[in-house]
Symmetry: C2
Subunit: 219 residues, 2 copies
C-alpha cells in the first residue's frame, strides 16, 4: 500500500488545496482518534447522511448496524458510499469576519461497502468496532450469541480512494487587518468525558478505569 | 408551520422507531446546540459528505462557503441534499456487547439548496452563521467588504422534510443479563472549550468573555 495516496479527481481537495492531505498515515491517525462517521449513500438521486460508529483494521473500515436499518439494507446492494470523519479542534477568530475559520481534521473515503458474512470475520469486526471505541470493554461484556449476531450486519469499506483535510494553528489575517482593534486567537475545542454514571439497576461493580479515564486524544 | 412534522417515507425512522422524533421544536433545539453539519450530495450516483458550519433562522438553514468549493458549485444547481447534525452525549455500556449503544441527538433534513444572492439577505445570513457559532463576535470583527462577499456563497435549505432521533438514559439490558458480573452505565461526553489562545501577532486586546466562557450546552 503506498504511503501517500495520489488523489483522484473526486478526492482532490478543491477548496483551500494547501489543506489537502493524502498521506495514509495521517488519515489513519484521524480515523483512529474519531469513532463516529457520517455515511452518505444515494437512493434514486436523494442522498442520505447517517451517523454511525466504525472501526478500522489496516486499510479496511468496518461499520455495523441492525440488518433492519435503511442504511444497511441499501448499502448491502453494493452502492457507492462516502464515509466522512470530522474532528473539531477549535474556533479560529480572526480580525476580519471573512478570515474566521475552524481548526479541524477530516477524512473523506469514497468506496463501496461489502457485507461481511463469514462468521469469524464478522465476530472479529464487531470486536474491532467495540475496542475502537472503548479498549478493554469487549472482554468485560457478555459475548454476542447467535441470535444477536444474526440481527447485526457488518459492512467493510476499503480505504482506497480517500483524502484528508487539516487546518491547525492561529488565525491568518490580511496584513492590513492586523491593527484592527479586536481580540484574535483560537478557542480550543475537545470532546471530553465526564464522570461515569452507574446504572441504577443491580449495580454489581465499580466503574472500571477505562470508564473513569476515558479520553480519545490521549490514546 | 405545524408543531409536529409527519414523517415521509424517506424521513421515517426505520431502525428503533421509538427513538424517532418529529417535533419541530426538538429538531430546532438540536440544530441550535450544534454548529457543524454534514452535507450530503450526489454527483453521477457518487455521494459526497462534507462537514461545514451552519446557522438557522426560523424554518431555514443557511450554509456558506467559497464560491470555488466543489460542494457549493454542485449544490447551486438545485440538486437534492441531505443535511445531518449529530450531537454525541455519551457512551452507553450495557452488560451484553449487543446492547451497547450511544446517547445522541441527531437531525436529518432532506431538501434542495437555493443560492442566496440578494445582497441584504446574504449579509444577514452570514451574520446569522457567525452569531450561531459565537454570539457577539460579528460586531467585534472587521466587516466583510464587497470583494469578500463576492468570494462567498450562501445557500438556504428549507427545514421541511426532516426527522430527529434521540437516545438518552441508561443502558437497557435483557432481564437475564442483569446479573452478569460487570459494570454497566454511561460515560457522558461533551464538547468542551479550553482557555483561549491569543494570536501571537500584534495582540491588542484581552480575550473577551465570549471566548473565555465558550459553551454550547449552556446557551
Amino acid at each position: 500500500m503506498p504511503e501517500t495516496q495520489m488523489p483522484t479527481a473526486r478526492t482532490r481537495v478543491v477548496r483551500e488545496p494547501h489543506r489537502g492531505v493524502y498521506s495514509r498515515e495521517e488519515a489513519y491517525r484521524i480515523l483512529d482518534e474519531g469513532f463516529i462517521c457520517h455515511v452518505g449513500f444515494a437512493v434514486d438521486g436523494q442522498p442520505f447522511v447517517i451517523p454511525t460508529s466504525y472501526g478500522r483494521k489496516d486499510a479496511d473500515l468496518y461499520i455495523h448496524g441492525s440488518a433492519a436499518s435503511r442504511m444497511l439494507r441499501q448499502m448491502k446492494d453494493g452502492i457507492a458510499v462516502c464515509i466522512t470523519v470530522t474532528l473539531l479542534d477549535g474556533l479560529v477568530l480572526a480580525r476580519s469576519v471573512f478570515n474566521h475559520s475552524m481548526n479541524y481534521r477530516s477524512v473523506v473515503i469514497l468506496g463501496k461497502a461489502t457485507l461481511v458474512d463469514e462468521p469469524e470475520e464478522k465476530l472479529a469486526a464487531l470486536r474491532l468496532l467495540s475496542e475502537h471505541i472503548l479498549p478493554g470493554r469487549w472482554d468485560d461484556s457478555r459475548q454476542p450469541n447467535e441470535r444477536e449476531l444474526k440481527q447485526t450486519s457488518v459492512l467493510r469499506v476499503p480505504i482506497e480512494e480517500f483524502s484528508a483535510k487539516v487546518r491547525i494553528g492561529p488565525p491568518i489575517d490580511d496584513e492590513e487587518d492586523l491593527s484592527f482593534p479586536t481580540w484574535a486567537g483560537v478557542i480550543p475545542l475537545e470532546m471530553k468525558a465526564g464522570a461515569p454514571i452507574d446504572d441504577e439497576i443491580n449495580p454489581l461493580r465499580e466503574a472500571p478505569e477505562y470508564a473513569k479515564n476515558y479520553s480519545r486524544s490521549l490514546r
